[in-house]
Symmetry: C2
Subunit: 427 residues, 2 copies
């Protein structure tokens, strides 16, 4: 964990520069697997599951019995927690709905947007050491609220051909309509092209390793939409001497434990406070079970001390963090000045973990500086805003000449005539 005390402006962009993760060398390998799935459908999927997930499946779809089994296997405490989180996520995403607002842009010209759910969506939940049931909620709950008709989920089975019960319980709770045992490139290819067993979807959501990311990028060039490009998770923390250094250190570490490529950055104007946090990080690290992995990500984590808040906000916005925690006395003022960030956590009692699990906001957020151009997943991610318009005869009489002149000057005479023929019609 390196510290930068009052760095010169010319060095700023280097300090917040992320390690570059180039997965383009995987392009050909991933592309080959995708072609197999496109050409051979289920047959390819069975073979690939055997090859990559070391499991011999006879079908992909999780059945009713497996869902019931999952529900019985889970502790009541965890089920209650999932239920509570699910309710909060539902409340927040439901609040993102908007009534239809019909606007008369000029006399007799009525225009409006209507939000319509994407008919078929695909959600990918990776496997690995821990079951990401929280991500199931984050994707499936807004998909249900949006009115997506089919909500397909793919996740890799273990070597016994089973899916973790917490994932199945969360899927049930969040209204996933079908779950398939498919991991990695198989899952992405199956949902992008459709096979005998798996329906083709129109948009694919969810995290994954570099193979999944490359597969999503490749299919997004032609077949389907995707949520956003993925990269390692990250947090920026703005804090001052009014903050509790132990709280700040705990947030710093909770980001660092995500993976060895995660990054945590502390921005402060107080040199002594920075030192306190550093010591707290080292102390708390000792007690963590994922100490080794966490230490690795601390190697590229940083403490940055700047002379004033203007500089600080400029550099934070340049970094464009996925998560931004502000624990400073004037945190509301600083929050007003956030231009680039995925999700912002305000005040001493708002740890990032709250948003990761249960406060209601989404945890699928833009990493790698993409917060400059992308929102995190939200209700909009699952809908299209279709525009409608209706013009009265009198409305077209007034607006028609404007259209005619513009069309003529763009040399689109049939466009002009579509107006003229209506204006010239004798009643």
């Amino acid at each position: 964990m390196e510290s930068y005390i009052y760095p010169q402006r010319k060095d700023w962009s280097n300090i917040v520069k992320r390690a570059s993760f180039d997965n383009s060398s995987l392009r050909d390998a991933v592309s080959d697997v995708l072609s197999k799935i496109k050409n051979d459908g289920d047959k390819a999927l069975f073979e690939l599951e055997e090859q990559f997930d070391k499991v011999s499946l006879t079908s992909f779809k999780v059945n009713e019995e497996e869902f019931k089994e999952a529900e019985n296997l889970l502790s009541n405490d965890l089920k209650n927690a999932i239920d509570r989180a699910s309710i909060n996520i539902e409340k927040f995403h439901a609040s993102q709905k908007h009534e239809i607002n019909k606007v008369e842009t000029s006399y007799g010209v009525i225009c409006w947007q209507k939000s319509v759910g994407i008919d078929v969506v695909g959600l990918y939940i990776p496997g690995g050491t821990a079951p990401l049931f929280s991500t199931v909620l984050m994707l499936a709950v807004p998909a249900k609220i949006a009115g997506c008709r089919k909500r397909v989920l793919c996740t890799p089975p273990n070597r016994n051909g089973k899916v973790h019960p917490a994932i199945l319980y969360a899927a049930m709770k969040a209204g996933v309509t079908e779950v398939y045992k498919l991991g990695g490139i198989q899952a992405i290819g199956a949902m992008a092209y459709g096979t005998e067993s798996v329906p083709k979807v129109y948009k694919i959501f969810g995290p994954g390793n570099q193979y999944v990311t490359m597969a999503k990028q490749l299919v997004s060039l032609k077949e389907v939409a995707i949520d956003m490009p993925a990269g390692p998770s990250e947090v920026a923390i703005i804090a001052d001497e009014s903050a509790d250094a132990a709280f700040v250190a705990s947030d710093f570490l909770s980001q660092a434990e995500h993976g060895s490529d995660s990054q945590a950055l502390l921005f402060t104007t107080d040199k002594e406070f920075a030192e306190k946090v550093k010591i707290e990080v080292e102390t708390q690290l000792e007690k963590l079970p994922r100490k080794e992995l966490t230490s690795k990500s601390l190697e590229h984590s940083k403490i940055i001390v700047l002379t004033n808040n203007d500089d600080l906000m400029e550099l934070v916005n340049e970094y464009a963090p996925e998560h931004l925690i502000i624990q400073a006395k004037n945190y509301n003022n600083l929050a007003e000045r956030v231009v680039n960030a995925g999700s912002v956590f305000l005040g001493p009692y708002t740890p990032e973990s709250a948003g990761d699990y249960a406060s209601g906001t989404n945890h699928t957020l833009p990493t790698n500086g993409y917060a400059k151009a992308y929102s995190g997943v939200n209700l909009d991610s699952f809908i299209r805003k279709i525009t409608f318009q209706e013009i009265s005869k009198q409305g077209l009489e007034k607006l028609g000449p404007v259209i005619e002149i513009m069309a003529e000057n763009e040399s689109l005479i049939a466009h002009k005539r579509a107006v003229s023929i209506r204006l010239n019609k004798k009643d």
Copy 2:
């Protein structure tokens, strides 16, 4: 123009299947040009402008004098029309703003979204036979309303190094902050990477040929966001015997004149009406200046007669048209059943040209079936919805245990401790 009378269901998907436009063979060539721009900046741009646009420039940026000249060159009629259209586009896109809505998802847990404009956006306007000043309005007006700070526009110069005055006037009117004389791959590369003259942007918008489309796709894999994938323009018209066949034919033709790859489809349940429209199309075609090009796109345009409205709506939704015109007696009922479309035009006096130019809706819309997953350009395209949350001490006391159980079950112990350390703090 082929007619399909009561086709069998098994043939449906083939009838609405689009010609496949595969630009992947251009990948390497476009990629080479992009690398040149990335490495050599302005120097590469000067050379490429000479090579592709046959013009030797000394600078790219359009200056004040050129803007004034443009304003003087344009007729008052056209200026007034652009002004009127601009006002309507502004009204409709401004109506898409939403107030911040703070939600208490559970006791003491407050979450909200804040819309923040993408700081720097790039707008591309192609060259060619006609100046697409209408597209300038469609992109720049919402960018201004969204609060994007820098609104950069690139468009190719003619062989005298000039930009068409209507484009410059529209850019001025719509609040573009800087215009550069750059066409095709040069424009996309310059905005994606930034050069000595051209600022790097975070998201690129706008239409273009297959080279521009490939360049946008390539840079979107890493450097910037893009509005949406592009394809040939298209319309689906639903009409019945209550409609005026001449109106319908004029809409059909106004789509067909866009380019030889455009497509128009008429869906109806009335065989006689279909025949009437066909005759009208042939009659009106004769009078069009772009007759030859329009005939070409009529070759892949179609008239589809189905037995009932249920079938008709199913097939239209399967096609997922960019533009959908409904001229039928029960047009509001049919409109309710639209699931996949970019922009919908209702009733006899609402030609597509109205939305193309002046009613206020956006004309940058998803083609090629992408309406299944993408919205057209709208205010959201230029903003990010950043989430914020603030939790009180009491709020965290209530929600904390839920977070702790979930984090523990995902084996993220530092996430759990970020909560516990706060809950355990002695006052």
